[in-house]
Symmetry: C2
Subunit: 76 residues, 2 copies
């Protein structure tokens, strides 16, 4: 199985969701991207269809937006 | 690991998220509850803190609301 990508921005709701996702999916199956610390990934995230964080992009390209935390525009 | 519970209401966004969650977590690790077909589970869902569907309640009791589909009040 290819990896999922979990995009977040360090907010409390993101970190809580991150822990849950890692526990459910397994840390080896998910890449964690912190969009505020690594703004070069922002365009990848937007291309994948991420509208808010935290969000999980699945291996088949679907985007699961989780517990709405912050809009992408708030991170720029 | 105890099971997660995925609550949904049969809407297209729910079904899409359901497939993604089953693929990520594994069907043996998640119980699927259709709240419109099984309204007796509504109070369990509300007690768990589910505010909208689709939502995933993790084994440690956290609620991940995914891709906001419908408020609980819309299902009653």
């Amino acid at each position: 199985m290819s990896k999922s990508i979990f995009y977040h921005a360090g907010c409390p709701v993101c970190v809580s969701a991150e822990h849950d996702i890692i526990e459910l999916v397994g840390s080896s199956n998910v890449e964690i991207v912190h969009l505020v610390n690594d703004k070069s990934k922002m365009s990848d995230a937007e291309k994948a269809g991420v509208k808010s964080v935290p969000a999980l992009v699945t291996p088949n390209g679907n985007v699961l937006h989780i517990n709405f935390g912050a809009s992408m525009s708030d991170l720029k």
